[in-house]
């Protein structure tokens, strides 16, 4: 587990908003045996560009080649790998659990403890949204499993550098 974690990489890209750019980037990873765990694309500050955050698994030596092939793409402005120190990471999880009235007080406690939020509920289900680091969400998910979790959807990681310049 610990070893495996070491081979998870978070890469952010700034790309021109042109057709095909997503395919070009993802195939640079796929071709070299990298498995993309999560990928988030969102419009950036300037509408001509998008930000991509990719979470992927594979050996670091291959990653170096992938990153070089990726920045080489005409539509990729820049491409950086982020470690824990230089950037902040957050993701969002939506969790659906069975609505069991007896569990309500514990659920409310947990929601508060994890700074989560109940988005909607009816007599059958409760949907909770929780933002946090991957580890925090993993933990939250594990706890929720005990309370009749029906499904979970996670956004994939977003990163932002702590430096003055853009990610």
């Amino acid at each position: 587990m610990e070893n495996n974690k070491k081979n998870i990489h978070t890469i952010s890209l700034l790309v021109a908003n042109k057709p095909g750019v997503l395919v070009r980037v993802t195939s640079a990873f796929a071709r070299r045996g990298y498995n993309i765990d999560a990928l988030v694309v969102s419009p950036s500050f300037d509408p001509n560009y998008s930000t991509m955050t990719i979470t992927a698994q594979g050996d670091p030596a291959t990653l170096d080649q992938i990153m070089k092939q990726t920045v080489k793409l005409v539509d990729v402005i820049h491409c950086n790998e982020h470690t824990g120190e230089d950037a902040v990471h957050q993701e969002l999880a939506l969790i659906k659990i069975k609505n069991v009235p007896a569990n309500k007080p514990v659920i409310t406690d947990l929601v508060n403890k994890f700074a989560a939020k109940i988005i909607t509920e009816d007599e059958n289900i409760v949907i909770i949204a929780c933002a946090g680091t991957t580890l925090q969400l993993d933990e939250f998910e594990t706890v929720m499993k005990k309370y009749g979790m029906i499904e979970v959807v996670r956004s994939g990681k977003l990163v932002m550098t702590k430096s003055k310049s853009s990610t």
């Binding site: 057709p19 395919v23 195939s27 071709r31 080649q65 070089k68 080489k72 793409l73 005409v74």
Partner: protein, 565 residues
């Protein structure tokens, strides 16, 4: 159905042609079809010449041959669907060898995209892994910017093919934009000259070295660094080996040249590789046909790498020092910082290898490719533009046609595309009409694109093609003989036509060479003939290329001569 427009307004097709003209395009190679008829209609009024080929693969290789000898991008124009997919092999070939091409493909009308319209193929998607960049044009008014970008991308930095997919309604639509459009290539960088400090540090790697070796590749040729390489070699006494595509970056007849290295390189080049204590690549990819096994490659030697593509640095071989940028510009600087080296002993060591392990061939058992190539070499004084196909004949031609010029050697290196040679020779002849162009091809590969005999005949191109008939897919047969107990499988070319008659049927002069005795006279006859000539060489069937380093092995495992039975 003609496209009529108001007098002053241009269609997308006319706009496209204007843009191509302003890029200096002389020739467009291709085949028309439904969705590109508006472009062909506009071509009637253009001064650019359209060369109708017999297959789109042929068109793409012709554009490639044209590009390699002129240094200008080759241009291809084909229809959608099968017309477009037929260009893929040629695009891949150009991509692997960093050849600038602009491929214009027709496409179904915009409203039909993604609806399986007649002859709709997602060529934009299919070609993605083999292009430097590509476009699907969505607005007629974008044409000037996209064409400007396409030519710029194709032929700057590390060159490569750029594909432009043009929906029929975009070409037929009216152009209401401006020709004066800025390029929008925010993510495209051409590496600047490395800093003085980096170049100095790189130069310092040569300090104390006793056996330096230069490895020159296609990048050195593309960068036109031949003068700087020569200065470097002569001033510091550094021997040179070249890759298959690096032929001509440094004159192969120079005393310090050891010729081609690698799988079928000269024994002396590979011996120098084993013995050197520093190897400096200038524009080569350290590809597996030259390094054999990158774990065992030049183990004790310092490895230096100069390349314009940062992604090449460390891809195969992890260098001790590297410089990213244009080889010519870098060498110009590097020369200033290098200190004199004493390589006298090293020079005599490599001279010994050259003397002891020369390339050789035998004329006693019948006609062979090495002999024919050597004859052509002598008759043309080493000055012809030489093009090869892929196989045994390719390696023999590389071994025996010593190349002294950086713009006269064409071969499909990275892709190893059979069928490349003949159309590429035609393209080269279009680009350099006054040079003598010789193609050496195999009986297998030639039959993949021989329909271009029509193209050579129609345009009366004086290209000479030597079809080496060993009645086998010779290179595969050689591997089967050496590594699979001579169990021949799928390599017998029985049923090939009489090539002289095929040539004649196309209106091309055909000459048969049956034996060593008549070879020179017949080759001279071919050279003297003003038009295209097919020379059918009836070579001996089971001859093998040596030296050979088995695939995946290091240079230590080189077989200089055939193994004893």
């Amino acid at each position: 159905m003609t496209v009529k427009q108001k007098d002053t307004q241009l269609t997308g097709a006319q706009t496209l042609l204007k843009c191509l003209e302003s890029e200096g395009v002389e020739y467009i190679f291709g085949i028309p079809g439904g969705v590109v008829i508006p472009i062909f209609d506009a071509l009637v009024e253009s001064k650019m010449k359209f060369i109708l080929t017999r297959h789109e693969q042929g068109a793409t290789h012709m554009a490639d041959g044209y590009a390699r000898v002129t240094g200008k991008p080759g241009v291809v124009l084909v229809t959608s669907g099968p017309g477009a997919t037929n260009t893929l092999t040629g695009i891949m070939t150009a991509h692997m060898d960093s050849v600038p091409l602009v491929i214009l493909t027709g496409q179904a009308r915009r409203p039909s995209l993604g609806k399986d319209a007649f002859q709709e193929a997602d060529i934009f998607g299919m070609s993605m892994p083999v292009v430097k960049h590509s476009y699907l044009v969505r607005d007629t008014n974008d044409i000037p910017r996209i064409i400007k970008e396409a030519f710029y991308l194709a032929n700057t930095g590390r060159p490569g093919p750029v594909l432009v997919d043009l929906p029929a309604d975009v070409s037929a639509g009216l152009f209401t934009g401006s020709f004066d459009q800025k390029m929008d290539l925010g993510g495209y960088n051409i590496p600047p000259l490395p800093s003085k400090e980096n170049i100095k540090a790189f130069a310092a790697m040569f300090k104390g070295v006793k056996k330096p070796l230069l490895l020159v590749g296609h990048g050195a040729v593309i960068s036109k660094a031949e003068k700087e390489i020569k200065t470097l070699v002569e001033k510091f006494g550094i021997p040179v080996v070249n890759t298959l595509l690096g032929k001509g970056a440094f004159p192969e007849t120079h005393p310090l040249s050891l010729g081609m290295l690698g799988m079928h390189g000269t024994a002396y080049a590979n011996k120098a590789l084993i013995s050197c204590d520093l190897i400096c690549s200038i524009g080569s990819r350290w590809d597996d046909r030259i390094n054999g096994n990158n774990q065992e490659f030049c183990v004790g030697a310092k490895k230096l790498h100069i390349d314009i593509d940062p992604a090449e640095i460390g891809k195969i071989v992890k260098p001790d020092a590297s410089l990213v940028g244009d080889a010519k510009a870098i060498l110009e600087e590097l020369i200033k910082y290098l200190e004199p080296m004493d390589t006298k002993e090293w020079q005599s060591e490599v001279a010994f290898y050259k003397k002891e392990f020369p390339l050789k061939y035998d004329t006693t058992k019948g006609l062979t490719v090495p002999f024919l190539v050597d004859e052509v070499y002598k008759l043309t004084k080493g000055k012809a533009i030489v093009v090869t196909d892929v196989g045994q004949h390719q390696m023999w031609t590389a071994q025996f046609y010593k190349c002294d010029y950086p713009d006269r050697w064409l071969s499909s290196g990275g892709a190893g595309t059979m069928g490349y040679g003949f159309p590429a020779a035609i393209g080269a002849q279009f680009g350099r009409p006054h040079d003598l162009v010789f193609a050496f091809v195999g009986d297998g590969g030639f039959q993949m694109t021989l329909s271009e005999l029509a193209t050579a005949a129609i345009h009366k191109l004086p290209v000479k093609v030597v079809v080496n008939e060993n009645k086998y897919l010779g290179m595969v047969r050689q591997w089967q003989e050496l590594f699979f107990e001579n169990r021949k499988s799928g390599v017998d070319l029985k049923g090939s036509p009489n090539f002289v008659k095929v040539a004649q049927a196309y209106g091309v002069k055909g000459i048969l060479i049956k034996n060593v005795r008549e070879a020179r006279r017949k080759l001279q006859e071919a050279i003297n003939h003003k038009g295209p000539v097919l020379i059918h060489a009836d070579i001996i069937k089971e001859n093998n290329v040596f030296p050979m380093i088995p695939a995946g092995k290091s240079a230590h495992h080189m077989m200089i001569d055939p193994p004893k039975k």
